[in-house]
Amino acid sequence: CASGPSKEVLARQPEQQLYQQAIEALNNGRYSSAVTQLETLDSRYPFGQHAQQTQLALMYAYYQIGSWELVRSTATRYVRLHPNDPQVDYAYYLRGLAAWEAGRFSLESLDLIDISKRDLGSSRDAYVDFSELARRFPSSPYAADARQRIIYLRNVLARHELQAADFYLRRKAYVAAVERGRWVIEHYPQTSANADALAVMVEGYMGLGAKDRAQETLAILEHNKPDHPQVRDGIFHPRYVKGTLSLNE
């Protein structure tokens, strides 16, 4: 229910006046009417001098009213149209934020629902966008915040892999468990989950009866995290597989 003037009325106002009104609506929080005005500007003056500013403002307005999909589609269009525009990092950042918000789950903060156990579709998109932002525009003002969020997301994604690995260990599907562990090490390095991933691989190799591989992996685990809960004075205690494993015998 856009409270502002209807599209027809707006269509006739000249570009400059319309742009002023939109920015002013944006600044004092009337986001939905700002959206209508910016949308009219974008469709009437696709090549006007404010074209780029309009699209950036439109993205921000969509973000404020919470329509994540529109933010992402406008941002993608902006990145495609103005790849080397100085403000393009803002578009990447907004696209990542929109995916981040879409991935959050209301009960997550209550820790009732552990989102790492659920479908991480949008969290994965956010991870990709923020990583691209950090990689291509390391000096961008948004890069710092993006890196923080990358770390959080990487942990969530890694935990998701380990949950699946744990299920496969219980299910005695040891090849699957080892591969899930390796996926964490390969895709989410430097997360706290790496040590647990190594532990899963050791247990998986033990299940497969490949003692040599198990010991090789255990050596790397001991080297990286000697105080891992499952390693007590050189002896590895698997969670589900019978028996224990030590480096020397």
Binding site: A11, S43, R44, Y45, P46, F47, G48, Q49, F105, L112, I113, K117, R118, D119, G121, H160, Q163, A164, F167, Y168, R170, R171, A173, V175, A176, V178, E179, R180, W183
Partner: protein
């Protein structure tokens, strides 16, 4: 003539920015220019697609670039289109470059007009006329009007097949969708409207008809489509050359079989000597491909190569088999499970990660996910792993749907006063896959508490464990709701485990303390039973049940079948010793998409044993109402009690239950997502019976007591039912008309319930 350009000025710009024009020019000011460069600049400006006209004028040493901007389409008006929706038309127009906000090229406009005319002609509307016009708007914008006169589509007057000897015209014409007579129902469903795609489809049907009957060399030599001068009638002539009828010669295999030849032959549905039949050939190749898929050759390719011997009308078939490499599944991923946990899906997987791929297992896993009832839609896609061609990832995408009901209610019934109630029953509590039932009701006459919890995967192999507790306190002294009160407190524990892919066994053990009390206005039968058997019962309950579930969806299935047989009762030494044998089954056949036929039955036989001669009335089966015989008030079918002193009698129920129902599930036309809503026409039948009558002691019996199953006493009803999955819970409506109801039957045409699907 070449000249030095000191400055560049652009004229005629309305919306395009000067910057855009300047950086499109291949040169900048302060440069020596000749004609060649100027024409090049002209091309460059034209390539931007923004200008209709560009020319250069020299004004002293200033180069004036005079441009005429192409108008931008401000509005697109389409009128008169009925067959094709405006959206489709706009989408088509956008592809050919005409859409709101886009620059308009004159040429594309009449190209669009031709495109639309061709489109209508392929629908058989030969006299559709399309007129496009432009209305200019201020500052170089334009409104594009497209008005369409779709005209009518020509009717087919003749489909004439020439050259058919083996089959009569009628047999062949039955294969056609197109007809040369208007359809039934006043031509509403007429298929005598010509369209080219329908024609091609019909020719394919004709071809496969012949190929399925031995005519390997069948060929449509030519087809003529002619139209009457007034463009109203279409005449179709199909000239065919049937060729000879072939029988199958010897059948061989080639390539690496991946199984023994003898095993492969068992899969074939064709044998030498039979008439050549393409459909059977395809069935055989599909059977072989599936068998190879199950043996792990997911990428197997099988095709039947015929070699024709015209001399003796014989065709030899060689099955070329290429099993391809053993395929493995690297990773199994799930998308869309926003509330259900990953493990709840992963534990249903029959196809494991890091294991040989089997197309059967992948399909079976999808069916198991659908049977959970947590998802309205389950799709599966296999993606090859880049760089490792023999490995693939299996991706399941699901759409969550409400799987249970939550309700809190404050109700009021004049007979019972205010009823506070809250209940939660979720088969996928917080996405953990566990079943939770919690309910509490409080009213003037009763308080009712229940708690149930079941974990279907107590162990990874699918051994389930569940327990339930319940407490009931009733006091119906001077109400007319019930004629006796029964307080109970009890609980139990049960275990279940799979005994095959589809069936499970379940054992249950529980204890119960039951107190039954009659009132002065209780019917004689109840009064007398409590006098003879007492009102206090301490029972320990046992139950054994077998279930087989092959439904295609957990909730609102459309195909498959489900059976449950159970023996429940109280153990010997309980105060009331009785047993209940129950059998419940339903089977659905999908007639065609969205249409299914469903037959269901619910049978029960119960009796006392040991010291309980007369089966306790409070454990009787009841019939009538939703989930049973719709159209009759809930639990009112069966033996009536002796009239109470204030005049009306009650229903006793019976220790034998016979119920059955036949339903036709049909789609509602305007509903998009049919997974959440199911409508059906049904015929219900059922009733309860007694093996022996309850004694009324000294009181004279007012209702004649009939014993034994008497099919004549079955009550019937016919009607339409609707079941709708809402986030609050499944909503069920039914409009039923009881058939030849007998006197004393208590009927309800409209019945509605929230929280229980029938």
């Amino acid at each position: 003539a070449p000249f030095d350009v000191a400055n560049i000025r652009v004229e005629g710009l309305k919306r395009v920015s000067t910057g855009t024009v300047l950086n499109a020019l291949p040169f900048s000011s302060h440069q020596r220019l000749d004609d060649a460069q100027l024409s090049q600049a002209g091309q460059a400006l034209f390539r931007t697609g923004l200008f209709d006209d560009v020319n250069f004028v020299r004004d002293g040493n200033v180069l004036v670039v005079r441009v005429a901007e192409r108008p931008v389409v401000a509005r697109l008006e389409i009128k008169g289109n009925r067959q094709l929706s405006t959206e489709d038309l706009k989408k088509g127009l956008t592809q050919s470059g005409v859409s709101e906000g886009q620059v308009l090229q004159r040429s594309t406009l009449n190209e669009v007009q031709r495109e639309l005319e061709r489109l209508y002609q392929s629908q058989g509307r030969y006299n559709a006329t399309i007129r496009t016009s432009l209305k200019s708007l201020p500052d170089n914008r334009v409104q594009v009007n497209i008005d369409i006169n779709e005209g009518a589509s020509a009717r087919i007057r003749q489909i004439n097949i020439v050259g058919n000897h083996a089959f009569s015209d009628d047999t062949l014409r039955k294969q056609f969708e197109l007809a040369d007579k208007p359809g039934w129902f006043f031509g509403m469903f007429s298929s005598d409207r010509y369209s080219r795609d329908a024609m091609t489809a019909d020719l394919d049907r004709l071809r496969s008809f012949y190929l399925d009957r031995g005519y390997v060399n069948f060929n449509v030599t030519s087809t003529q489509v002619s139209i009457s001068p007034d463009k109203a009638d279409i005449y179709i002539t199909v000239n065919v050359d049937e060729g000879q009828r072939y029988t199958l010669g010897n059948i061989g295999f080639a390539g690496k079989l991946g199984m023994s030849e003898e095993e492969a032959r068992k899969l074939l549905t064709v044998s030498s000597g039979q008439v050549f039949n393409q459909a059977e050939l395809q069935k055989s190749t599909e059977a072989m491909r599936l068998a190879l898929g199950n043996a792990g050759y997911t990428f197997a390719k099988v095709d039947a190569v015929p070699t024709v011997h015209p001399s003796d009308d014989r065709v030899d078939i060689t099955f070329n088999v290429d099993p391809g490499q053993r395929a493995y599944v690297r990773r199994v991923a799930f998308r869309g499970n926003t509330t259900t946990a990953d493990e709840v899906l992963r534990r249903e997987m029959v196809q494991l990660e890091g294991a040989p791929a089997s197309s059967d297992n992948i399909r079976l896993s999808r069916e198991r996910l659908q049977r959970l009832g947590f998802f309205s839609q389950v799709d599966v896609q296999t993606q090859p792993v880049p760089g490792e061609p023999d490995q693939l990832d299996v991706n399941y995408s699901v759409t969550e749907q409400p799987s249970g009901s939550i309700s809190a209610s404050v109700g009021f019934a004049q007979s019972e006063g205010i009823i506070y109630g809250a209940s939660l029953s979720q088969s996928n509590f917080l996405g953990t896959g566990n079943r939770v039932d919690v309910g509490a009701q409080k009213s003037k006459y009763y308080t009712n508490l229940r708690f149930g919890f079941t974990n279907p995967y107590w162990t990874l192999d699918g051994i389930s464990r569940g327990y339930d507790l319940y407490y009931r306190k009733t006091n119906y002294e001077d109400s007319d709701v019930s004629t006796y009160s029964s307080d109970a407190i009890g609980g139990g524990i049960n275990f279940g485990y799979p005994i095959s892919d589809l069936s499970r066994l379940n054992f249950g053990l529980g204890g119960e303390h039951l107190k039954v009390k009659a009132y002065n206005d209780s019917p004689a039968e109840i009064d007398q039973y409590i006098k003879d058997n007492g009102g206090d019962y301490n029972n320990y309950k046992l139950s054994l049940s077998w279930t087989r579930n092959n439904l295609n969806r957990g909730i609102l299935p459309t195909s498959g079948n489900y059976q449950r047989a159970s023996l429940e009762g109280t153990g010997p030494g309980s105060d009331a010793e009785y047993y209940k044998l129950r059998y419940r089954a339903q089977t659905l056949f999908e007639l065609k998409p969205e249409w299914s036929l469903k037959f269901s039955t619910n049978l029960g036989y119960a009796n006392g044993y040991g010291k309980t001669e007369q089966y306790p009335f409070f454990e009787n089966f009841y019939s009538g109402g939703l989930g049973s015989v719709r159209g009759y008030t809930n639990s009112t079918l069966g033996q009536k009690t002796t009239k109470r002193n204030d005049g009306d009698d009650d229903t006793l129920g019976g220790n034998i239950l016979v119920e059955g129902s036949a339903e036709l599930i049909f789609p509602l036309p305007f509903i998009e997502d049919r997974r959440q809503l199911q409508t059906s026409l049904f015929l219900d039948a059922g009733n309860t019976f007694l093996t022996d009558c309850y004694s009324t002691g000294s009181v004279a019996r007012t209702n004649e007591c009939k014993t034994g199953v008497d099919m004549g006493e079955l009550r019937y009803s016919v009607g339409v039912g609707l079941s709708w999955l809402t986030p609050v819970g499944p909503l069920t409506f039914s409009l039923a008309k009881p058939l030849h109801k007998k006197s004393g039957d208590d009927t309800q045409v409209f019945q509605f319930s929230l929280g229980q699907t029938f």
